[in-house]
């Protein structure tokens, strides 16, 4: 993993610079705000410095022939604390973050050991997905990630998560589609299967919420509505929920089908 820094007049500009110079999608980078200097006047002069964390395993996996990390890296990756920078911003705290000194380090998320599979269904599901991943030619270990009300999380621990995730998570989605069909054929009324690897889903959710809040800031500043990229219903719900906390901002879905786009609108204070 490598780290690069970028600067801009605001968060968005800095992020855009990063995306441009690295040639990656917004989805594929992990942004940390290092420093925010507020403009001395109302406009201009402010500086935002961001730090971009590049994770080898999140680069576009498609063209990486032969660029496989040794299995030894697995342990190391696993014990890397998940950054949860979204939580640092208490709601309503939209004041500039100047003069706060060094950012407090987020508490490292405890390493989650896979839970042992219990019962026939869980064992067959783990075995099924393991067999699938192996036939894709990808080294990895499938385990139970979590059990929740009507949901079963299957986690693939692998040094090749970039390939398993795919562009915008589409390979992971495809694996999940197939795993769910297999599950419903194994057991009637089976739990919903959630397939994840190296915490991609939680990292992706955090980055969506972060992006939504940044857009809200921008809409508030410019008073101009903005249309976000197309998202699936689950992702849209995350964005709607995150922005429901912002009293002066409104969100509305536009478009047809499963993938709709959200418009972020300024509605003003009060009401």
């Amino acid at each position: 993993m490598s780290v690069k820094e970028f600067e801009g007049r605001n968060e968005e500009e800095a992020i855009n610079k990063a995306i441009e110079s690295l040639g990656l999608d917004r989805d594929e980078i992990d942004v940390e705000i290092v420093e925010t200097r507020k403009a001395p006047f109302l406009f201009g002069g402010g500086r935002v410095r961001i730090r971009v964390h590049l994770e080898e395993d999140r680069q576009p996996g498609e063209d990486e022939a032969g660029d496989r990390q040794p299995m030894d890296n697995l342990r190391h990756q696993e014990s890397r604390p998940t950054r949860q920078r979204d939580n640092r911003r208490p709601r309503g705290d939209r004041q500039p973050r100047e003069g706060r000194g060094p950012r407090p380090q987020p508490a490292p998320e405890p390493v989650r050991e896979p839970l042992p599979a219990e019962g026939e269904f869980e064992n067959s599901m783990v075995e099924y997905l393991q067999g699938l991943v192996e036939r894709m030619g990808i080294p990895g270990r499938v385990g139970i990630g979590f059990r929740e009300d009507r949901k079963l999380g299957l986690n693939i621990d692998t040094p090749d998560s970039g390939i398993l995730i795919g562009k915008k998570g589409q390979t992971l989605e495809a694996l999940q589609v197939i795993a769910n069909i297999a599950a419903s054929r194994m057991k009637e009324g089976a739990e919903r299967i959630i397939v994840d690897t190296q915490n991609y889903r939680s990292r992706h959710e955090q980055s969506l919420v972060r992006m939504a809040r940044q857009t809200a800031q921008q809409v508030r500043r410019t008073r101009q509505s903005r249309l976000l990229e197309a998202m699936n219903p689950f992702e849209r719900r995350l964005v709607h929920t995150a922005l429901a906390e912002e009293g002066d901002i409104e969100t509305a879905s536009e478009g047809d089908g499963l993938y709709k786009r959200i418009r972020v609108i300024y509605k003003g204070p009060g009401k």
Binding site: E64, A65, L132, M136, I138, Q170, L175, V177, I178
Partner: protein, 77 residues
């Protein structure tokens, strides 16, 4: 390798795993995999709006991304 992958997935989707067969046609730059399943099972490997076929193709292209050779899945009916 891709042949085994397609067989594995297809057999898990259909009612008649015995009816699953994959024929490989090796080209210079791409490989074509012809998937044949029992007639009653065709819908099960295609899915509504081709959702399942699309998922299988996505998994297949991820698996073949390392070799750099394009793999095309054709579902015979």
């Amino acid at each position: 390798m891709e042949k085994e992958l397609v067989e594995y997935i297809a057999k898990s989707l259909v009612d008649d795993p015995g009816g699953v067969a994959v024929n490989v046609i090796e080209g210079e730059k791409s490989t074509i995999l012809e998937l044949k399943v029992a007639e009653a099972d065709i819908g099960k490997v295609i899915g509504k709006h081709g959702r399942i076929a699309k998922a299988v193709r996505t998994i297949l292209s991820a698996a073949s991304s390392k070799s750099g050779k394009r793999v095309v899945l054709e579902i015979l009916d």
